[in-house]
Structure formats: structure tokens, C-alpha cells
């Protein structure tokens, strides 16, 4: 049988006889205990134990396995062998995702089976199974995505990535427990408003979950394509940014200002995310400029950093918000909402981070940037503010300026200074 080779390799690694026998044996012992607790029957304690175990196994162990399926390759220097294979990106991605978690699903399905035996009301079971499996797939798929990003950044330690998976577990586990109780979902009048349309909350959550899974799969495909050396323009990131703008915009109260505010928040966040997750390589910018100089637009666009795209989408949102009148303009007497100045501050922050990425120790770029952020956002403006020097405070944190023009000037000064430092370091690197 011509199985996916990567899936088959993972089966070689994961499906040992000891595991195939050991996992049901351990689970059997646990459920025997819960059977005693339930008074010699499979009842509530068994159901709770089964669901908790399912979440622990599929969310935590599954996330770890998915991350390691890629990071381990990089660490053991076998990744080049995989990159040289004739496997396509999709084959490689699903082979890794489902192959590395095959024992996780073996154990998880045993838990779900025990859960099914322990409950009395089967009406809610299909929905719970749907949410459990989709949530686990989402966390595992997201973990693979994080693993791929780590590999692209040259990160070989999976601990910090796994930490993100734990955060995913902590956010999903309570929600899944709620689903098992069927509180909100059983209510007939539980609705979600999206662009002034009304949807059943349950249906809306299910579609949202499937959409999240879809984008995770697309992200994995795209990153795997890049790892395998396939050339691609960053349309996926652009598509995802637009999708998220529209999706989040639907939850805002119905006005154009609210939509653009959501778009501003989404694109701003995605700009930060984009600059953090990608490898900020000085040579990439050189390649990009070389291709653009040669008028090779396709090759040039392949080298575009994804945060540039989110930043470009941010500009029209900031422009529209700047021209609109709204109570959000002033949060308080001292603190103002100046979208164009915020755009420049965001550019400054990205510039600082990339400046450290181009340094001798790029591993410390994030911590150094956070240190500077504390200085620029908190300590320095705080000191000047305490001294009553609001003008100087605004120089460091322009949103404290009294006018949009003043804020823009302060932000421009900072961004210009950071840009010149960044340019000099980039020149030195290339």
C-alpha cells in the first residue's frame, strides 16, 4: 500500500508495541478507579475523568508531538533530507500532523469511547465529539504552524513554543468543559450578532472553529511550501489579514467608524505578529531590493516581509479614522487617540525589533525590544509627566501630545531616528 511516506515514517516511530498495549492498560486502570468511585458503574466521575484525560492527551501531548515533529527534524539535522524529498507541501504537512499524533488520537479516542459509555444523555454527544476533535485538531495544527515558524527562525528548542500550546490548552479546556454541560448551546435564544445578522451561537461557533482550522491548514501549507523551496507570493497572509478584518469587523456596532477601528486593531496586531514570527534577515531585504531594481516584480514580491502587507492595510484604516469624528478621539484629558501617530509608533517598534535582529545576538531581539518598550511607553514619559513636562513626555509617547499635529511630529522624529539607525545597521550587515 502506498501510504504517505512521512505518515508511515511517523508510524514507525510512534506505534511501538509497548505503546499500543501500554496506553489502553494505563487508561483501563484509571477508568477502573473511576468505576469504583461511581459506585461500581460508569457514571459522572468516569465521564469527567475521560473528558479531562481526552483534553490533556490531545491538547497537551498532541501539541508537543506536533511541535516536535518539525523542530526535532531541524535539531537532528534530518530536515534537509526531508526538504530534498519529492513530497509535496500538503503531503508533508498532513503526514507530520497526523503521523506524529497517531498515538495521541489512539489514546484520545479510547477516552471518548469511555466517555460515551459513561453518559446517559446521548443527544449532546455528537456536538461534544465535534468540538473535542476540532479543538484538538486546531491546537495540534497551530502547534505545527508554530514549529514551522520556529524552524524558519532557526529556533531549535521546542519549550517556548510548547508554552504557547499550554496557553491554547488553558483557553480551550474550560470552554470544552462548558460544552459538555451544554449550557449555552442548549438555550434556544442564544444568538450571535454579526453585521446585523443573527445566527445561532452554536452554529456560529462551529463555523468559526472550522474557519480557524481552515486557516491553520492554509498556514501550514504555505509555510511548508516555503520550507520546501517553492516560490510563492505572500497572498495567504494578505488574505488572512483581510479575512480577519471582515470577521472581527462583524462584531462591532454597525457603523463605518467601528469597522475601520476593528480593521485598524486587526492590522496593527497582525503587523506586530508578522514582524515577530518571520525571520528578519538582512539579506532578504537586499534580495528584495535587487529584484525590484531589476524590475523582477514577482521575485521581489516573494521576498516581501508579511508585516509590510499588514502595515499597508493599516494605512487606509488609520487615514479614515483620522478624518472621522468620534468620541474615541479622546480617552481622557491627557491621553488621545491619534491613528496616524500610532501607525508611526508601530513602525518605530518594528524598526527597533529589526534593529536588534540585525545585531550580533538576534536571539535577544525580543527581550531587548520589550525593555525599550518599557522605557519608551512607561518610564521616560512617566518621569516627564510626573515633572509636569507634558511636551517632553509626548516626545517619547506621542499620544500624550495635545494636538494630532504635535503627536505626528513627535512620532515622526522617533521613527526617523530609529529608521536611520536601522539603515546603518542593515548596510553594515549587507
Amino acid at each position: 500500500m502506498n501510504l504517505n511516506p512521512e505518515f508511515q515514517r511517523q508510524l514507525y516511530l510512534e506505534c511501538s508495541q509497548a505503546r499500543l498495549i501500554g496506553i489502553p492498560a494505563v487508561l483501563g486502570i484509571i477508568f477502573t478507579f473511576s468505576y469504583f468511585i461511581d459506585g461500581y458503574r460508569l457514571g459522572n466521575a468516569t465521564a469527567k475523568a475521560a473528558l479531562s484525560l481526552f483534553m490533556l492527551i490531545t491538547l497537551l501531548w498532541g501539541a508537543r508531538q506536533a511541535v516536535d515533529s518539525i523542530v526535532e527534524e531541524y535539531r537532528d539535522r534530518t530536515w534537509d533530507i526531508q526538504r530534498l524529498s519529492a513530497l509535496g507541501p500538503w503531503e508533508m504537512a498532513w503526514g507530520k500532523l497526523f503521523g506524529s499524533t497517531v498515538m495521541v488520537w489512539y489514546a484520545g479516542l479510547l477516552c471518548l469511547f469511555a466517555y460515551g459509555l459513561a453518559i446517559d444523555d446521548y443527544a449532546a454527544l455528537p456536538l461534544l465529539i465535534f468540538y473535542s476533535i476540532c479543538a484538538a485538531l486546531l491546537v495540534q495544527s497551530g502547534s505545527l504552524l508554530l514549529g514551522l515558524l520556529a524552524v524558519r527562525r532557526g529556533q531549535t528548542k521546542s519549550g517556548s513554543i510548547f508554552l504557547l500550546a499550554v496557553i491554547g490548552f488553558l483557553s480551550i479546556a474550560p470552554w470544552l468543559s462548558d460544552v459538555s454541560n451544554l449550557t449555552s448551546y442548549a438555550l434556544p435564544d442564544s444568538t450571535t450578532h454579526w453585521y446585523e445578522m443573527r445566527f445561532s451561537s452554536g452554529d456560529f461557533h462551529q463555523v468559526s472553529l472550522l474557519l480557524a482550522l481552515f486557516w491553520c491548514a492554509v498556514g501550514n501549507y504555505r509555510l511548508m511550501s516555503l520550507e520546501l523551496g517553492l516560490r510563492a507570493t505572500p497572498w495567504v497572509w494578505l488574505g488572512f489579514s483581510v479575512f480577519l478584518m471582515i470577521y472581527v469587523g462583524g462584531f462591532m456596532p454597525g457603523s463605518a467608524y467601528a469597522f475601520w477601528l476593528a480593521a485598524f486593531a486587526v492590522c496593527g496586531t497582525l503587523t506586530y505578529v508578522g514582524v515577530l514570527v518571520e525571520s528578519n534577515d538582512a539579506m532578504r531585504i537586499k534580495r528584495l531590493l535587487t529584484y525590484f531594481a531589476e524590475r523582477n516584480w514577482r521575485r521581489g514580491s516573494e521576498e516581501l516581509p508579511i508585516w509590510w502587507l499588514s502595515f499597508l492595510l493599516l494605512l487606509p484604516a488609520a487615514w479614515v479614522l483620522s478624518l472621522s469624528e468620534h468620541p474615541l478621539r479622546e480617552f481622557s484629558l491627557r491621553f488621545h487617540f491619534y491613528p496616524l501617530a500610532m501607525v508611526l509608533i508601530l513602525l518605530r517598534d518594528c524598526g527597533i525589533y529589526i534593529y536588534f535582529c540585525y545585531g550580533k545576538n538576534p536571539q535577544r531581539a525580543l527581550s531587548m525590544t520589550l525593555l525599550f518598550a518599557v522605557l519608551l511607553y512607561g518610564i521616560l514619559p512617566g518621569i516627564f509627566n510626573a515633572l509636569g513636562q507634558n511636551g517632553l513626555a509626548a516626545l517619547f509617547f506621542p499620544l500624550w501630545a495635545d494636538s494630532a499635529g504635535g503627536a505626528l511630529l513627535c512620532a515622526l522624529l522617533q521613527t526617523g531616528w530609529v529608521s536611520s539607525l536601522l539603515y546603518r545597521r542593515w548596510k553594515a550587515n549587507t
Binding site: 511516506p5 537532528d76 524529498s85 535587487t290 553594515a428
Partner: protein, 304 residues
């Protein structure tokens, strides 16, 4: 035919490959030599579509490597300097995975594994894991992985490092065997002695630039001969230049001479007869071994 044209690769602050251009003929074994840091591994990685250069093109059998990397991977084999073996799989499983990943049908895998293992003499190690094998055996398993799909071009980065003399000899035999089967090999190394036995061409890289491309073993009508006398004969160079149909390359201390002769054995016999007729105390008259290291050093000296 493999063509590399104006290849440029840069690391931050360093141009690792600077306008490198060359062609390699089908069926040749080319030595890629140069000092440490010359750019050999970078060149091989670019040719294997593992790293992306800033500029230039690489074409292997009409496939643009930089545009169609996956198509390129189907026709090349690559041995990295750190092997890339899965330590938790057996040798059989490693080879089965690579065979399948290179598109060999599951049913054909056992035959492919048997054949490549026979060729590399690792049939009896199939159920062992790579971490249980010696360095030399791991090297062979890695080479087996690189050639199991019978690629037309094999790129080998320092294939003989850490091997004992016997294993190196076997490796040379293997490379010649692969060449006979029509494969083209590009072998990087900075140990020239190991390349001597099998290379037909040599590429010399230095500081990211291609210094020289020479044919080491080509069919020749003339070849160098070494003449050694039992004792020095005054004006040996003058005596030798008077002989017809020979070209004097150099003399040392009027006792040793290097001359170029026709490959025709009758002519060689006639020259030896003439030397003896001149009453020269000949004690050695034989083809001079071509020395890759000499050629390399000569190239480096000529083009610093």
C-alpha cells in the same frame, strides 16, 4: 549537462559565492576543491536548491533549479557533511522512507533497498539503527540514502572525511561504479589525495570565486614521463633537447628529468633505446603519476 551561471550568494557581511560560473559534463566526476570557507558547501547547497542565492542561475538537465526546486530534487542526490540519518529508525526503515519519499512505489522499495545495500556492502546492517554503526558505516548508509532513487547527479559534501584508508578505497570504487552507470558526481573535499583516484575534472574555489576548472583525466596523445639517472650527467637538459619527438618539461640537479612523450608505446621504446644509446645511466623511466594536489597547488600559486 549542468550549468551554473553568475551565481552569487551572500551571508550578512560576506559574499560566499561571487559570480561563479561553470559547466559540468554528463557522466563526469568533478572534484570541488578549495580551502576551508571557500564556499564549497554553499555552492552544493545552492545546487541542491536548499539555499537561495541572491543572483544567477543553475540548470540541471534543462531544469531551472531556482524556479523548479522540487523537480530538481527528483533528479539529484545530496550527501551533506552531517549525514542526516534518523537515529530512531533502523537502516531498512531509513532507506524505505527515503525511497518512498523519492517516489519509488512501495512494492519496488525492497528491491531498491537490496540493490543499494549490496552495492554499499551494508546488507547485514539493515536491522541496526544508525547510532549503533561506526562512522564509516553511517557514511555508507547516508550515501545509500542519496543514491537509492538513482539520481542523474549526486552532490557529495566531504564524503570521505573520517573514513579509514580501506573505506576510502571502497568509496572510490563506488564512485567509479556510479559513473559507469551514467551518474554525474560533484564531490567536495579539501583532502585532495582522496579525490585523486576517481576525479575526471577539478573545480577550484577560493574566497567564493571559481579560480580554475581543469580536466584531470582526459584522453591524451602525450603524457609526462619521469627519467631518473643513477648519477648526475652534466648538461642533461641539452642532451635531452637534442632527442627528437620529446618535449622537456623540467630537469632537477642533472639527474632527474620530466619529459612529455607520445602515448604510442613503440615511440616510448624508441626514446628509451636512444637514451641508453647515449650511455645515460638510466635507472627509472616511467609515466609520471598525475598529481591532483600538484595541479591544485599550481593553480593556487598561479592565481592567488
Amino acid at each position: 549537462m549542468i550549468t551554473v551561471d553568475k551565481l552569487i550568494f551572500e551571508y550578512p557581511g560576506l559574499r560566499a559565492l561571487d559570480n561563479v560560473s561553470f559547466q559540468i559534463n554528463q557522466g563526469s566526476i568533478t572534484a570541488l576543491v578549495g580551502p576551508n570557507g571557500a564556499g564549497k558547501t554553499t555552492l552544493l547547497r545552492c545546487m541542491a536548491a536548499l539555499d537561495r542565492p541572491v543572483g544567477g542561475t543553475i540548470t540541471i538537465e534543462d531544469i531551472d533549479v531556482l524556479e523548479q526546486p522540487r523537480e530538481c530534487h527528483r533528479i539529484i542526490g545530496y550527501l551533506s557533511d552531517f549525514f542526516g540519518l534518523y537515529q530512531r529508525l533502523t537502516v531498512r526503515q531509513c532507506l524505505h522512507f527515503v525511497a518512498r519519499a523519492q517516489g519509488i512505489a512501495d512494492g519496488d522499495c525492497p528491491a531498491a533497498i537490496t540493490e543499494v545495500c549490496r552495492r554499499l556492502h551494508i546488507e547485514d546492517r539493515l536491522e541496526m539503527r544508525p547510532d549503533e554503526l561506526s562512522r564509516g558505516l553511517r557514511q555508507r548508509v547516508a550515501i545509500a540514502q542519496a543514491i537509492i532513487h538513482k539520481p542523474s547527479l549526486v552532490l557529495l559534501d566531504e564524503p570521505a572525511s573520517g573514513l579509514d584508508p580501506e573505506a576510502r578505497h571502497e568509496l572510490a570504487e563506488l564512485f567509479l561504479d556510479l559513473q559507469r552507470q551514467g551518474m554525474t558526481l560533484l564531490v567536495s573535499s579539501h583532502i585532495l589525495a582522496e579525490l585523486e583516484a576517481y576525479c575526471t575534472d577539478m573545480l577550484v574555489l577560493r574566497k567564493g570565486r571559481l579560480v580554475e576548472q581543469v580536466a584531470v583525466k582526459t584522453p591524451q596523445h602525450h603524457k609526462p614521463f619521469k627519467l631518473l639517472l643513477a648519477q648526475a650527467v652534466p648538461n642533461l637538459a641539452d642532451i635531452l633537447t637534442q632527442l627528437p619527438d620529446i618535449e622537456l618539461l623540467k630537469t632537477e640537479h642533472d639527474r632527474l628529468a620530466l619529459i612529455r612523450l607520445s602515448t604510442d608505446t613503440q615511440h616510448q621504446h624508441a626514446v628509451l633505446k636512444a637514451l641508453l644509446a647515449l650511455n645515460l645511466p638510466v635507472c627509472e623511466f616511467a609515466p609520471a603519476a598525475s598529481n591532483l594536489q600538484d595541479a591544485y597547488l599550481q593553480t593556487i600559486r598561479q592565481r592567488p
